[in-house]
């Protein structure tokens, strides 16, 4: 990829040319600015947008992460996208699918980044994408229509692509990085998005076809949290420290506390203790 193409504005034609998927991104909305691609994609889901619909924006005025936290979303440099997955699923398989979707999304993003950039990102449980110890991307998923025959999950991703290290706000400089800061060159966002969608589609198809064990194995290999000493911060509970030992079949993080007792974490903030 040439450096000149790296700075092109996102445009639907360039993304579509790069796509190799069957469904993901085949309905595509490219916007200059929106409040949050997830908010928009959720609204589209509620208005029966098709499976695979992708919303991508140059900038978000109210980009957000977990529990309404702000996601820094300057224009023209990074990737902010949301993918609508609408999967007909028997009810007894719904819980497993819901708990794995965010992990699959992070796995797919990490793999695609690796392919496109040659960098080696890892995943911090459940779905932060790291290069070294710094965050290069995050995933926020939102589901709905859970009582219906075809519940939806909106997979939102924010990836720091071409932003320079010095452009991050002060409070993020120590904890955030970008692909171009790490590789010392810019990347074409259309190509990167197409690669992520391709990997995401393949991993979702595999998971839904029953290859959960393969996805589990791939995730554990990518996951920087397993084997680490961690602190777990959960809403309404005291922090817990211990060693992350494995990933449960339901995607939970298994912790052995310092006192030897066991804990399965399904939601919370994980801090890698150095």
């Amino acid at each position: 990829m040439s450096a000149s193409s790296a700075f092109h504005a996102l445009d639907a034609k360039a993304i579509q040319r790069a796509l190799t998927t069957t469904t993901l991104g085949r309905t595509l909305h490219v916007l200059d600015i929106t409040a949050s691609t997830n908010t928009l994609a959720v609204r589209m889901a509620q208005e029966d947008a098709p499976h695979g619909t992708v919303v991508v924006a140059e900038s978000q005025s109210a980009g957000r992460g977990r529990l309404g936290r702000h996601w820094y979303s300057p224009p023209g440099k990074n990737l902010y996208c949301s993918v609508l997955l609408r999967t007909p699923l028997p009810r007894e398989r719904l819980a497993r699918w819901l708990s794995w979707t965010p992990l699959i999304a992070a796995l797919a993003a990490a793999r695609a980044i690796s392919t496109v950039t040659g960098l080696s990102p890892s995943v911090k449980w459940p779905n932060d994408i790291l290069i070294g110890q710094r965050k290069v991307g995050g995933v926020l998923c939102e589901s709905g229509d859970l009582g219906s025959a075809a519940p939806y999950v909106v997979v939102g991703m924010g990836l720091n692509v071409n932003i320079q290290a010095g452009e991050f706000p002060e409070e993020l400089r120590e904890i955030a990085t970008s692909l171009s800061a790490e590789a010392q060159r810019p990347f074409n966002r259309a190509v990167l998005l197409a690669a992520i969608l391709s990997d995401l589609e393949a991993r979702c198809d595999a998971f839904l076809a029953g290859h959960e064990a393969d996805i589990h194995r791939e995730y554990v290999v990518r996951c920087a949290t397993v084997g680490r000493q961690v602190r777990v911060e959960r809403a309404g509970a005291d922090p817990v420290t211990g060693r992350a030992t494995s990933i449960g079949a339901d995607g939970s993080l298994k912790i052995v506390r310092d006192d030897g007792s066991h804990l399965d974490v399904h939601a919370g903030d994980i801090i890698h203790v150095r």
């Binding site: 977990r66 529990l67 309404g68 936290r69 719904l94 819980a95 819901l98 708990s99 794995w100 979707t101 965010p102 992990l103 459940p126 779905n127 995933v139 926020l140 998923c141 939102e142 589901s143 709905g144 229509d145 859970l146 009582g147 999950v153 959960r234 809403a235 309404g236 339901d250 995607g251 939970s252 399904h266 939601a267 919370g268």
Partner: protein
């Protein structure tokens, strides 16, 4: 003359093994009326049916008046509840008519979209089918849990920001209430 008839486990009236099925209110009303009719028609003193984990017993008092007593109880516990007043029984019936909203996933229950935002709903609020009641978070997936019926939020059974289990009841919605 004292006659007693009991039907149990015949045809589609088979007991549900886990006793979890919530009968619909209309269906229950019809069933009770039907039983009362049978009771009167055949001059029985007591009639009991068991259906989907719920037992309904209608009984006539000693006098000339016919006072059906309806006892509904989920599961098999409490076989002898003949002393129940009609009022208690009516309350029990009302409780059975509530719709339960259960967690589809293991995770953390949140009553609002972010810590400083207003709750989606409070007890006593009227909700529409499809209206978001809460979020259950697992693995940073925010699962919006929607009401499957129109009705009034009768009770909120879980505490915000606390863990919930798969299938744990979160809300009771009264589908018979109208604004």
């Amino acid at each position: 003359m004292k006659k007693r008839a009991a039907t149990r486990g015949s045809g589609r009236k088979q007991a549900d093994p886990d006793g979890s099925t919530m009968p619909e209110n209309n269906h229950l009303d019809k069933e009770v009326h039907h039983l009362v009719e049978l009771l009167n028609q055949h001059e029985l003193t007591e009639l009991e049916v068991e259906h989907k984990g719920m037992r309904i017993r209608v009984r006539r008092g000693g006098g000339a008046d016919t006072i059906p007593t309806v006892v509904s109880e989920p599961g098999r516990a409490g076989l002898d509840r003949k002393g129940e007043s009609a009022e208690t029984a009516a309350q029990a019936l009302a409780a059975e008519a509530l719709a339960t909203v259960a967690s589809p996933i293991v995770g953390t229950f949140y009553r609002s979209p972010s810590p400083d935002a207003d709750p989606y709903v409070d007890e006593g609020d009227f909700v529409k089918k499809g209206q978001v009641l809460c979020i259950v978070e697992a693995m940073k997936l925010m699962n919006e849990i929607e009401s499957e019926v129109d009705g009034r939020v009768h009770k909120i059974l879980a505490e915000s920001a606390k863990p919930v289990e798969y299938g744990q009841p979160l809300f009771l919605i009264d589908p018979t209430a109208t604004p």
